[in-house]
């Protein structure tokens, strides 16, 4: 087993990995940019080293510096978390060359899965169903030709793509030329690679992904599925496990396909195969994420397996120690990603100082977070503040618990997406579990809708109005007091406190 691991990341995932290290008796080495000296992951680490200026490309993305720090600290492994260097095959190669274990698959595996066209070819060979479409990079003429043959709707996608970038839906032949130009432009600016391919568009798909674990002894298992269909602008916001209406039979078939995909590339560690599932229950391979996922905690909740510890053990050459038929699905788990953004103003980012932080707690609640009261959310990195995960014996209980936990969770100083989550969780369509990736656009008006009526609505309104008056009164009184102190200090002028008092007497009569 490793003696010391460098965590080449920050925020909640760095905290998550450090927790796993401590439980395994491994010393944890943190890195921090100039704005992260005060971050939680630094406090939890055994060692911490500065890694550069705030912009990620000058700190958390600098490969040579990570290697240099790992060597200086004597770390025998690097855990990349997610984002930053996690899916950078060159970084995995560099670690290998420098004799430092990379907690994840080999560089060539990362590259094979990172290029969507190569991944589609590999999956097709392994017998994993892929979305009907091309398995080559295409010229503009080829794309036009293909669409003419198959007919819209189709998706034009960037080969190097991800996160919804370089992706264009074509519903009519007339849109093709413009869509190609747009997708190529976006792909070039986002990934430095303008290769495109085409897929049949799956109408209103559900997004179901399978968690996979693989060791270096030939064992590959899956930990069932997660449903990630609640998305805003292609970003996941709520995930749950197991998926809605996934039968044991479908679960087994998708699990086998995911394991076949992992075996086909010689996968090592924790990975995720993402699938689209259509209305008839057909599933198609979308992509494989070669890292620990943000939403891994819901799988941990329903299986009891520590995914981060398992991937560290696998990287150290240890066997998984659990067979497929020993993996049990117990209960239901849901995750709400709480972002520093204002759901009331078009989800604008809301960085700043967290004045009050009171996370939810109690039975069945897990909060993974990289912040605390007094911490600052900076503009430089991902705006996720916390992952709120609840577990219940069934979906109903997990949902009730999530609603309860959201009620308790207080973050002040910055705006968060907590009110948005409250609207989703109370929405009848979400409650019934009959949703797909179109849910937020169709039922939540893109995120701003879905308002619910409180059973005590009249009372709630009245309390809001009364409180506004009380807050105004307290503020006016405080201002008057402050002005009075100032006036006294300067020995003269009208006494505003007295004026306020007079006003109070004058207007204070009730009714």
């Amino acid at each position: 087993m490793f003696r010391k691991i460098l965590i080449a990341n920050r925020g909640e995932i760095a905290v998550r990995v450090i927790r796993a290290c401590r439980e395994l008796g491994i010393r944890a080495v943190a890195v921090y940019s100039d704005v992260d000296r005060d971050s939680l992951h630094v406090r939890y680490a055994d060692e911490a080293h500065p890694c550069g200026a705030p912009p990620a490309r000058e700190s958390y993305l600098v490969m040579d510096r990570m290697i240099e720090i790992a060597k200086r600290a004597g770390a025998d492994a690097v855990h990349p978390g997610y984002g930053f260097l996690a899916e950078n095959g060159d970084f995995a190669d560099l670690c290998a060359r420098e004799g430092i274990a990379f907690v994840g698959p080999r560089g060539d595996v990362i590259r094979a899965m990172g290029d969507k066209v190569t991944a589609r070819q590999t999956m097709q060979k392994a017998g994993v169903p892929i979305v009907p479409g091309t398995t080559e990079r295409l010229s503009d003429a080829q794309i036009t030709e293909w669409i003419r043959e198959i007919g819209p709707p189709v998706m034009i996608k960037a080969s190097a793509g991800g996160g919804g970038k370089g992706m264009r839906l074509v519903r009519q032949d007339s849109e093709v030329a413009k869509a190609i130009a747009r997708a190529r432009g976006e792909a070039r600016s986002s990934f430095g690679d303008d290769g495109l391919y085409v897929e049949k568009f799956v109408e209103r798909p559900r997004h179901i992904e399978i968690q996979v674990l693989a060791d270096s002894h030939g064992n590959t298992i899956h930990l069932f599925e997660r449903e990630c269909s609640i998305q805003r602008r292609h970003q996941k916001v709520i995930e749950e496990a197991p998926g809605n209406g996934i039968t044991p039979e479908l679960r087994a078939r998708m699990g086998e396909a995911a394991c076949a995909a992992a075996r086909a590339v010689g996968y090592l560690g924790a990975g995720t195969c993402e699938f689209l599932v259509d209305k008839s229950g057909n599933f198609y391979f979308l992509e494989m994420n070669t890292r620990v996922q943000v939403e891994h905690a819901i799988t941990e909740a329903i299986t009891g397996i520590d995914i981060v510890k398992t991937m560290i053990r696998a990287a150290a050459g240890e066997p998984l120690g659990i067979a497929q038929d020993q993996v049990r699905l117990h209960g239901h788990a849901i995750e709400a990603r709480i972002y520093a953004e204002d759901p009331d103003v078009n989800f604008a980012p809301s960085p700043g100082l967290i004045g009050v932080y009171r996370p939810a707690g109690g039975i069945g609640v897990r909060v993974d977070s990289g912040v605390y009261q007094g911490a600052t959310v900076t503009v430089h990195y991902d705006p996720m503040v916390a992952k709120l995960v609840t577990w219940g014996i069934d979906r109903q209980e997990a949902l009730d618990r999530l609603e309860r936990a959201l009620f308790e969770f207080v973050v002040k100083g910055i705006k968060t997406s907590i009110p948005f989550h409250q609207r989703v969780v109370r929405h009848p369509v979400f409650r019934e579990g009959r949703y797909d990736t179109g849910f937020i656009d169709e039922y939540m008006d893109g995120g701003s809708g879905g308002a619910f009526e409180d059973p005590d609505q009249d009372e709630v309104r009245r309390v809001a109005f009364v409180l506004a008056a009380i807050a105004a009164y307290r503020r006016d009184k405080q201002q008057a007091a402050r002005a009075a102190t100032g006036a006294a200090g300067h020995g003269g002028g009208q006494d505003p406190w007295k004026a306020f008092g007079r006003r109070l007497q004058m207007r204070g009569g009730l009714g």
């Binding site: 980012p349 809001a464 109005f465 409180l467 008056a469």
Partner: protein
């Protein structure tokens, strides 16, 4: 002390307050007299107990008279003005007039410009998309009007405070 509390584009209520002790208030609203205990923890979180019912309420001051009040997952945009101030100010309704300059609230990169000078835009309509904190953010027009000036172009990096665009109310008639 009497306050006029009004909701943006909504109702107005008259609320009379009398302070009782450290945290208590006698409140008259809608012809009813209530006894409210309002305890503050931190600058902006209140615990309200009224007739035995407890509400946790969060308040953010917005400008001179504005208060964003959040409770039970609902947000109310309210204005609370004491009646004397309102009398002095004449009509309390201050409507934004003239050209409105919209600035970037944080550093980022302009990824899309959705309107050009002369284009008519409505309140809340996205005019510029800025990428910041790894997210694309639509910057909406604050008013119904016409874009007078587009100060940025796609691909441009902006700092907090950089002017993005100027929009003016439509010409009358």
């Amino acid at each position: 002390m009497n306050y006029q509390v009004s909701e943006k584009k909504g109702e107005t209520r008259r609320i009379c307050l009398r302070e009782i002790g450290e945290t208590g208030f006698e409140v008259v609203v809608d012809g009813q007299t209530l006894h409210v205990d309002a305890v503050r923890s931190g600058p902006t979180i209140y615990s309200i107990i009224e007739n035995g019912k407890q509400f946790e309420v969060m308040v953010d001051e917005k400008g001179i008279h504005g208060f964003d009040v959040m409770l039970r997952g609902q947000l109310f945009h309210l204005e609370a003005i004491d009646e004397r101030t309102q009398l002095l100010a004449g009509s309390a309704a201050v409507v934004a007039s003239g050209p409105q300059t919209v600035v970037a609230e944080m550093p980022g990169k302009v990824v899309r410009v959705a309107a050009a000078p002369g284009d008519a835009v409505s309140e809340g309509q996205g005019v510029v998309v800025v990428e910041a904190m790894k997210m694309e953010n639509e910057i909406p027009s604050p008013i119904d009007g016409v874009v007078r000036e587009m100060a940025v172009s796609e691909g441009q990096t902006v700092e907090a405070g950089t002017t993005l665009f100027v929009v003016e109310p439509p010409p009358p008639g």
